[in-house]
Each structure stands twice: as C-alpha cells, then as structure tokens.
C-alpha cells in the first residue's frame, strides 16, 4: 500500500519537477553564469563581478531601481485604498446574489489583454482624445491639455492594471469573516474606526498581504504600462533590463540586473512582512 502511494506521488510530481527544472532552474542558472561573465580589456570573456558592481557605482542604475521600487510601493498602497471599499461593499453590504454579479462585473475588464486596456486609456487621455474633446466642447477648457506621459497617469494605469490581483484575495478573506463579529463589537459600543482597525483589518490581513505581494511584484515587473503611458520620464527598471539585452547587446549586464531585481524585490517583500508582522505561509494559504 505504501509503495503504491509512493509510485502515485512520483508519477504526479514528475511533470512539476521537470517543469521547474527545465523552464525555471536551468535558464536561471545560465543567466546567473552569464551575469558573472564580462569582457576584459583584450576583449576576452572572463569571470567577473563587474556587472554587479556597475549597478552600485553607476548612479543611473540604482537611481532607476529605487524609483521603480518606490513607485511600486505607492501603487500597492493606492491599489489597496481603491479596492478595499469595493471588496467590503461586495462581500458585506449587498445581497449575496448581487455580489456574484458585481464580482463578475469587476473581473470583466480583465478578460481583454493589458495592451488593449492601456491603449484604451491612451485614446481617452491623449491630447486629441475623448476626455479633452468633451471638456473643450463643454467649454470647461480653452485648449486641450496633454494628460498622458506623466507620472500621475502612469500610476493610475498601474493601479488599474493591478486592481484585480488585490480585489480577489480581499474578497475571499472578507467572505470568510463572520458578520456577527462586527455586530458584537457594535453592541459592545465600539466605534466604526475601532471596528475597522481592531476587527476587520486583522481578519483580512492574510488577504491584504498576499494581494500586496502580487501587486507589488506585478508593478515592479511591469514593462508595458510605464513605457506607453509614462512616456518620456518613466525609465522603469524592467525597461533598463530590456535595453541592456536588446539595445546595447550587453546580455551579461542585463542578466546581472535581472538577478538584482529578483534579490532586491525579495528583500523588500521580506522587510514588508517583518514590519507588518505577517507570515508568508499564512498569507498564501
């Protein structure tokens, strides 16, 4: 019986292991080796840490990373602020029948690809776009203004594209919450603020944590939205990696940046978990 079980486990786990090994581990090892190689003055390929050193010595590289990470954190916070009331409304206020419908309504925009959604925003916001046309023809504006190509638009675009990944874990964690907890607190004279901070937030914490991790990583690793909506000032760290690979033909440097992104973003998430006293295992379960 025990042997039988082992065989079954083996059969089922092999595809997963193969997938992990061939598609994740092997390419990463090759990238890691690549990131540790460079050219010496004679043009020969040698082992070196120069690619990693470049990140810290060249101001532009770490500046871009810090900027990207900071914006990703802001996006995460904004996304939480926007989606929490929505998730609360859907799970606690409307009738259960309507809440399913509202959830589908919320998911619907995500059935089209990110590229299409970003272009949709661009059509709305551009200087000769829909919103400018409406405002000028209504006499609210004398001349159309350019609403694209600045940081605020880019942040809005990023919040919009990552909303789904925050709202789903929030809904699922709030759904499990017993309404009588809130009622009891209310009966015992707690103010709405106290209820929010002492009961709802702690209960939803695992959902908030997992949603925040996903949104943070997605915003940090996004390429499309900053490039298309951010325009001229929005050098994102992923774009820098792309540039190293594609424009400068410097795959070694690009690979080093890739690993730095992986390491530094893991570090930020670890720090975030420590500060908020959350556990990764609990958040993901």
């Amino acid at each position: 019986m025990k042997n039988h079980f082992r065989l079954g486990l083996f059969i089922f786990i092999t595809p997963v292991l193969l997938w992990l090994l061939l598609l994740i581990i092997v390419p990463h090892v090759e990238l890691l080796l690549m990131s540790l190689h460079g050219k010496d003055d004679m043009g020969r390929t040698v082992w070196t840490l120069a690619n990693y050193r470049n990140f810290f010595t060249e101001e532009i590289y770490w500046y871009t990373f810090v900027r990207t990470a900071l914006y990703a954190v802001i996006v995460t916070i904004l996304t939480f602020l926007v989606t929490f009331p929505v998730a609360f409304y859907i799970t606690k206020i409307v009738s259960p029948r309507l809440s399913g419908f509202l959830t589908v309504l919320l998911l619907m925009p995500f059935w089209v690809s990110e590229l299409v959604r970003v272009y949709g925003w661009m059509i709305l916001l551009r200087e000769s776009g829909v919103i400018n046309h409406l405002l000028t023809s209504a006499g609210l504006l004398d001349a159309p203004v350019e609403m694209l190509y600045n940081d605020i638009t880019m942040l809005m675009g990023l919040v919009y594209t990552s909303m789904l990944f925050m709202v789903v874990p929030l809904i699922s964690s709030l759904e499990g919450m017993d309404d009588s907890l809130i009622e009891a607190a209310h009966d015992l004279g707690a103010s709405p603020m106290t209820i929010f901070y002492r009961i709802i937030i702690p209960y939803a914490a695992p959902g908030i944590t997992s949603g925040s991790i996903v949104v943070f990583m997605l915003a940090l690793g996004n390429y499309l939205t900053p490039k298309l909506m951010g325009g001229k000032n929005s050098l994102w760290f992923t774009e820098q990696i792309y540039n190293e690979f594609i424009a400068s033909f410097n795959w070694n440097q690009g690979a080093a940046f890739g690993f730095l992104l992986l390491a530094l973003s893991s570090l930020i998430i670890w720090a975030g978990l420590k500060i908020s006293k959350q556990q990764l295992g609990k958040a993901l379960s």
């Binding site: 060249e58 532009i60 500046y63 871009t64 900027r67 551009r126 200087e127 000769s128 350019e146 694209l148 190509y149 490039k227 325009g231 001229k232 000032n233 050098l235 774009e239 820098q240 540039n243 190293e244 690979f245 594609i246 424009a247 400068s248 033909f249 410097n250 795959w251």
Partner: protein, 353 residues
Amino acid sequence: MKKLITIATCILMGLATNLQAAEPLKILTWKGYAPQELVDKFEKETGTKVELTFTNNEEMIAKLRATRGAGFDLAQPSQDRISSVQAEFNIYQPMDYAKIDSAQIIPSMLAAVQKNTKVGEASYGVPFCYGTDGLVVNTKLAPDAKDYSALLDKAYEGRISYRLKRPTLIALAFAEGDDPFAKYGDATAYKALMDTIADKMIAGKPYVKNYWSNGDALLEMIRSGEVAVAMGWDNGGWKLHAENPDIDFVAPKSGALGWIDTFTIPAKAKNVDGAYKWINFMLRPENAAVFSNQEKYATASKEAGKFLDAEVRDNINRSFTAADIDNIKWYPPVSTEIEQLEGKLLDKVKAAQ
C-alpha cells in the same frame, strides 16, 4: 458513425498534405517589407508558404543571437549593423552571390553593401531598399524647422517627438557641425562628442512631447496635429503628405541620414533555397515597384523606376534637391562598443528629470 469516419479521414488527409508541403519560408523583417500582394504571388509561383515576423534592427539581432542563427530563413537588418554582429556572434551565413540575380540590382549599391558587410573573406548582405532619416514636419505649425536643431527648440515646446535610439544622437551631432561617423574609430573622442549631445538632449527634454517607439503611433500624432516636428523616416512623411499637404518630409540642412536595409541568411536557416528565391523575387522590377508604391521606400532594384507611380517619384524631387542628395550621410558599419556606449547615454537621457 460512417459520417464521423469520413470526416476524420478528411481531417487526417488534410493534415497529411499540410505536412507534405515544403518547408515554409520564415522571414524576420520590418513591418511593410513584405506586402500581402507579393506574398500571395510568391506562394502561387513557388508553392512555398511564407511566414512573417515583424521587428526592428535590435530585436532582430537579439532573436538570432538567442538561437545562434536558427528559427528563421531570412532576416533584413540594416547594412551597418551586420559586420560587427557577425564577427562577434556568428549568426549569419555567407551570401552566395552566384545565386543572386545581380543584373536586377543597382550595381553601386550592391558593391557598397558587399563591402560594408564583409567579415573575413565572405560578405553577408544583399541590398533591398533604402531611405533616409530626417524631419517630418507640419509646415503650418513649424514653418522654420529645417534642421535637426529644431528637435531641441523651445519654440516647438510640447510639439516635438523623436526616438530614443542611436540615429537621434548621430543626427544631433551632425546638426552641431560635427562628424560622428569620422569618430567611429576613436571611442574616446566619440564618447566626448556624444556626452555633449546627451547633455543637450537632457536640456531640451522639457520641450519633448514623448519619445516615440512605434512608427504608426508617431504618424497618428503628427496627423492629429499633436506633434509638429518629429525625427522620422522619409516614407512616413510622404505618406502623410498624401493626406495633408501641410505635412511633409524635410531633408535637414546638415544632411539626411541614409540607411540601406538588406537581405541576410541566418546561420542555421532551413530553407536556404527558398530564401534565395525570395530575394530574387523581391528585387524583380515589377515586384519591387509594388513594394515601393505601397510603402514609399526606394528600392535597390535597378529597373523598378519604370513601374513606379508618378507620386512616388515626385516625393523625392520635392524633398531633396540635388545638393541634399549629395549631402546624405550613409551609415558606415558600427561596432558593438559604440552601441553600448550609446545605449548607456540614452538611458541617462530617459532617466533625467
């Protein structure tokens, strides 16, 4: 049940014939370089199916480098980007010029491309089309934009667009009265020159609307009047001129930048015969003219002029005087060292506030 079996047999036979058909011809090229009309004609003539992938110079090289020259049967990089890449990564195979119908090609252009794509004993490219980089201007909004310096001019604040790519650096260096091509051999002097150009671009950054990366998006912004001065390809300006006479391509005073795009065969191409057939097919005068009439690019095919629309010929005469044509700066082959140096500077410009 019988019906089901018949259907299944039909599907299987269909699959089988598909498998029997010859190896498809996979072409890695620029958008517009293989008009549907010509693809259909080629498939009818040879029975070879054509598969197209659209990209640009940098991604073309990166794709072929990743597979060490496999996955495609034909690529179309610019002639100045071939020799150094070939010397370093060995992603193309030597061109067999005996298989090319060279009588169809403008002789001086073929000779120039052969010379510029030479690595060791072999050459790697055949010219396909050529054109220039210059200014696309809405003459009503920016009547005085005659040189690249207009791209840094406060007068056109918020109405300027260019690519954050190497042609812009080179163009602005020419506009400063310098000759970047003469400094290709001396990386230190070249870096000193480009540092000053990058500083100028950063100073002029507030006037830029955006850095375009997609040709169609740029044309759309000029069409709608959002952009008045842009650095772009001549054919784009000419396409817009046909819609709106105010918009046109302007050959800059300090010289339009001339490029030649080529045919090259990747090192591990599977359908080499098909690739040579496609090259000879595309350079046949009547076919080259179909391409030129549609995309407004000039072709390397010698006799194509006979089949060109009058409008296409007028374009060149309108934008270029004889002196302008003599003043075109043709890109010499560029080293990877120079491209890395430029890549870093362009990142710096993009990150600057």
